[in-house]
Symmetry: C2
Subunit: 304 residues, 2 copies
């Protein structure tokens, strides 16, 4: 199966702790790396995880709070020092451009590559990126400032050829792509061999949804329906639920409820408040609602 | 002796490595903490070293390259989240104000404390900070952009009273401060007892000099004369000396020559280029010129 992996570079919240880095993730889809959020220290985490800076061409910023983007200027600067020439695309709520440009002009004077900042509408779910492997849509979220999540939907691959059947019918190579694309094969004797007989179906398409800082939004369940892996913030435990309203965050239980309502296969919870030295309370509360839950941590890579 | 300690939070240069954080230091003078430079990840290093954020009231930025100040906005933001109310003073070359203010307005909206940014003239050595324990002067340096170092000079303390002599002459307590301040004591019989007889001299004043990114500047030796501890950048080894001219950096040998010319007691070298996996080459080259040299590292606290 083609690679589709999520690596957690950071899953803490705003206050620094020795347990976590602030938020950042790398999504590896068929060896293309997509970054989500870029808290302070992300470039160090990239080094630790041995990701290649040059393979990161698209960065998605959920919202303009420091713990999700203070690492951006350092990363951009490092990419320049490393001799990058290809364009870097950053997708973020609209203010990023005006905030970042003066710093780019000052700190990355003579920068050798182009930075294209794409302003993202956080109010509705829109397709913001597409290539031959994946489509990326925004997920509208509700936080203290404009904020959205991202859903990565793999595009279907072609069916696999059954090579023994190809040999059996003695089918010329030039027909393979047609058969993969769904055309039947007609033998020199006029026999019609159905494409389905010559192929095995491709693996089902997979998806990953990232729900950054947000209050509980059950109305997103439809958008997230049947997602393979859901990352959802779980800043607070149930006892501190009263804090969700003023801070626009979720509890672990609410994250798990989102996974349940979305019929997700697996849930990762993260964005842990510094107040919980032991995050097992969050895990337990989530598991009570949705058993296939794991706690994010900075050494974690999950294969979808 | 009163506390005078230098703790290295980071001593790498611009490219991130797993060996070092970018530049930052904490100078602890009688439990007041002064920060020099603030590269990305400094707030994490503060946590690791168990320094209290509230004790840092003065930050000195040598120059506006990212590896010396990308950690500033995160640190300021964290101090706000921690409920800081006292003014934070930042001393830096003049552009910091115009670069930082828009980010403070955006990311630290409703900030509860005042930030006073003091524009520093990097061209000559000037007194930029003074309290009853210390004077801090700039050191003019020469880098690709405006840059200065800082010299911390302890103020003399008063002599210590010899309590046995006080008892011998039966001197009333109210005279102690006068005697410490240098006044002789006259007994009821008219005998003059010299202040020097009643006291032992205070410990000699100590000093610490920080020479950030710079080409070799022997003309600074006079300014640094007899410094107790000198930190000097040593970005390159001798073989790579040709890179110093274009990048405005120094070799380890040049750092050691500065220590020798300045008659320093001890030298720490840092700001290591990511190209040297083994920094012992830098140490050896420095020690050939100035034997009392150590390599900076992130676990290091040096008592002066």
């Amino acid at each position: 199966m083609e690679k589709f992996e999520v690596t957690i570079l950071g899953c803490g919240s705003a206050l620094p702790t020795l347990r976590h880095f602030p938020t950042s993730q790398i999504i590896n889809i068929r060896e293309k790396l997509f970054m989500i959020d870029c808290g302070e220290g992300t470039q160090l985490q990239i080094r630790k995880n041995k990701f290649k800076f040059t393979k990161i061409n698209h960065i998605f910023i959920s919202h303009l709070h420091g713990d999700h983007m203070f690492g951006l200027i350092g990363l951009i600067s490092t990419m320049n020092l490393l001799g990058r020439t290809s364009t870097l695309h950053i997708y973020a709520p609209k203010d990023l451009e005006s905030l970042l440009r003066p710093h780019l002009d000052y700190f990355c004077n003579g920068i050798m590559y182009n930075i294209e900042i794409h302003s993202v509408n956080t109010k509705e779910s829109l397709l913001i990126y597409e290539d031959r492997s994946v489509e990326i849509y925004t997920i509208p979220l509700k936080h203290r400032i404009q904020c959205c999540g991202f859903i990565f939907k793999e595009k279907p691959t072609l069916p696999h050829i059954k090579s023994d059947m190809i040999d059996y019918y003695n089918i010329p190579r030039c027909q393979i792509n047609n058969i993969k694309a769904g055309m039947d094969y007609i033998t020199p004797d006029g026999e019609v061999v159905e494409s389905a007989v010559l192929t095995t179906p491709p693996p089902p398409v997979r998806s990953y949804a990232y729900c950054s800082d947000t209050i509980f939004l059950p109305q997103n369940a439809e958008l997230l329906q049947n997602v393979d892996l859901l990352y959802h913030e779980a800043t607070f435990c149930k006892e501190d639920e009263h804090l969700c309203k003023s801070t626009f965050h979720s509890t672990a239980e609410q994250a798990a409820t989102m996974a349940k309502l979305s019929n997700a296969k697996k849930l990762i919870v993260g964005h842990f408040s510094s107040r919980y030295e032991n995050e097992n309370i969050l895990l337990e509360e989530a598991k009570n609602v949705f058993s296939n839950t794991v706690l994010a941590n900075e050494k974690m890579t999950i294969t979808i």
